[in-house]
């Protein structure tokens, strides 16, 4: 069992299983470069093959694994067309419940580096940075060691330790920090692909997406599409935690029902109430619905949810969904970059109201009336999507836990003494 993912207290394990392109078949496998080459073969020559690599990524249908799910080739072409580019591998993983990037970087650093080199060749970049959280010391160590093993262009890749804040991984915030500022989002346009690090067109891509590029460069689009769904081919890393027997990071083709992933985690540890799909900007789904949902963008969209940060948290029946959501909302309010009025004033007000509802004391009805009015004033009015993501969580909580809300209106709670489930950061770093 691997203990290498720093993000979570309960060390998620690397599950072996059906699909294993990105994660090793055995978590005890060594990750030296020679082993890496034995498993995957060498990277093909990259110099001068940028255009063919771009076409291959386009044909592969690869979409971003960072949360937005944007078609990767579109991003690559936008940067490539502008010249003098920079590649930033985003391994910051600000989402506390997610561990997939940490696990990937710790267990397959060479594939991430392959992806960085391939993307750099595709967009014509001569500068590349792998950005990860300052706290992720093991990932940093593994990447540093892996880089040291490789001659040539890999030597130019720099590793940067980013402040440990929720929004620090937002692409404009990351670029802002790399340019010497605080890790806070900036007003866009211009977006990083137009003007980013050092004012140059910058490709910001999740480390898992880049790892997939490293595979496509070797094995091509048809191979890549041989698993997954037609609209979301390839494999995906998913973090599963909460009321399951063994929390972990799994690699899976998308499209399979969520229940399959739960089974691979040893099954449920307790009768489930609801699942949080997509991390802290995601949505709750009631357990009976969630377990049978195909894990894909389309499958989730039909229930008003999305893949998001590819994190699934199972909430048992012995917990209060409103209390958990109130805790997370308070956390998100504290993680505001503090730049935009509606977020700085609005999110704490939403957290206040939700906490009143969670307390099941006086003022629950007034707080419930206040919430939609607050939401209408906050949505879409920040420089980034932080407030919108938080509102999504809150509105899905009120929907899915409606019965609990009614109970709270009458002054009762089904799980008043439940221990907190969803993780938040231990200590907060500053913004620089």
């Amino acid at each position: 069992m691997s203990a290498l993912a720093e993000r979570a207290r309960d060390a998620p394990l690397v599950a072996t299983g059906t699909a294993s392109r990105l994660l090793p078949r055995d978590s005890r496998e060594d990750i030296s470069w020679s082993t890496h080459l034995e498993r995957y073969g060498p990277l093909p020559p990259l110099a001068g093959h940028g255009e063919s690599l771009l076409s291959e990524v386009e044909r592969s249908g690869l979409t971003g694994r960072g949360g937005a799910g944007f078609p990767t080739s579109v991003k690559l072409r936008a940067v490539a067309s502008r010249g003098s580019a920079v590649v930033v591998a985003n391994g910051t993983e600000g989402e506390p419940a997610s561990a997939k990037d940490a696990v990937l970087m710790a267990h397959n650093p060479h594939l991430v580096i392959d992806g960085v080199l391939a993307a750099a060749a595709a967009v014509g970049a001569r500068k590349a940075i792998i950005a990860l959280s300052r706290r992720a010391s093991t990932s940093a160590a593994q990447l540093t060691r892996a880089l040291a093993e490789r001659p040539g262009p890999a030597q130019a890749i720099r590793i940067a330790g980013v402040p440990d804040r929720f929004v620090a991984g937002e692409e404009s915030a990351l670029v802002h920090w790399l340019n010497g500022g605080p890790a806070k989002p900036t007003f866009t346009p211009p977006r990083p692909f137009e003007r980013g690090v050092d004012g140059r067109p910058t490709l910001v891509q999740n480390v898992e997406t880049l790892a997939n590029i490293g595979l496509i460069a070797r094995f091509g689009a048809d191979w890549f599409r041989s698993t997954g769904t037609r609209s979301e081919p390839g494999t995906a890393l998913v973090t599963v935690r909460g009321a399951v027997a063994r929390a972990g990071v799994l690699e899976t083709g998308l499209g399979a029902p969520v229940r399959d992933l739960i089974d691979r985690c040893g099954g449920l540890a307790a009768p489930p109430q609801a699942l949080l799909m997509g991390g802290y900007f995601g949505s709750w789904l009631p357990a009976p619905v969630a377990l049978d949902v195909p894990l894909s963008t389309e499958g989730l969209r039909q229930h008003g949810a999305s893949l998001g940060a590819r994190t699934i948290v199972v909430l048992g029946r012995d917990a209060c969904g409103i209390a958990e959501s109130a805790r997370i909302t308070r956390y998100l309010a504290g993680e505001s970059a503090g730049q935009c009025g509606p977020c700085v004033f609005g999110l704490p007000a939403v957290a206040d109201a939700l906490e009143i509802v969670a307390s099941a004391g006086d003022g629950v009805s007034a707080a419930l009336d206040r919430l939609p009015r607050l939401g209408a004033q906050i949505a879409g009015r920040g420089a980034c999507h932080h407030p919108d993501g938080a509102l999504e969580l809150v509105s899905s909580a009120l929907r899915v836990f409606a019965a609990e809300v009614e109970l709270h209106r009458r002054g009762a709670c089904s799980a008043p003494a439940a221990a907190p489930l969803l993780p938040t950061h231990r200590e907060r770093s500053d913004w620089r």
Partner: protein, 67 residues
């Protein structure tokens, strides 16, 4: 040629001039920050929009051309 209004929420510091000068399109939330009821500016309000943009002490209101 039409114009669109946008607020830079990072620069904005809730001075409130824009809502006074262009109340047809801008009102303030409960904390004083501007809410745009629409981004497209009707032709007859273009001059007022320019005045609102010019009056902002933080240059947080933007009027952009849309052809």
């Amino acid at each position: 040629m039409t114009h669109e209004l946008r607020v830079d929420p990072i620069l904005c510091d809730a001075h409130g001039h824009c809502a006074e000068l262009l109340p047809e399109l801008i009102r303030r939330d409960e904390w004083g920050y501007p809410i745009l009821s629409a981004s497209a500016v009707p032709v007859e309000l273009t001059e007022d929009a320019r005045r609102a943009v010019s009056s902002c002490p933080r240059m947080a209101l933007l009027l952009e051309r849309r052809d």
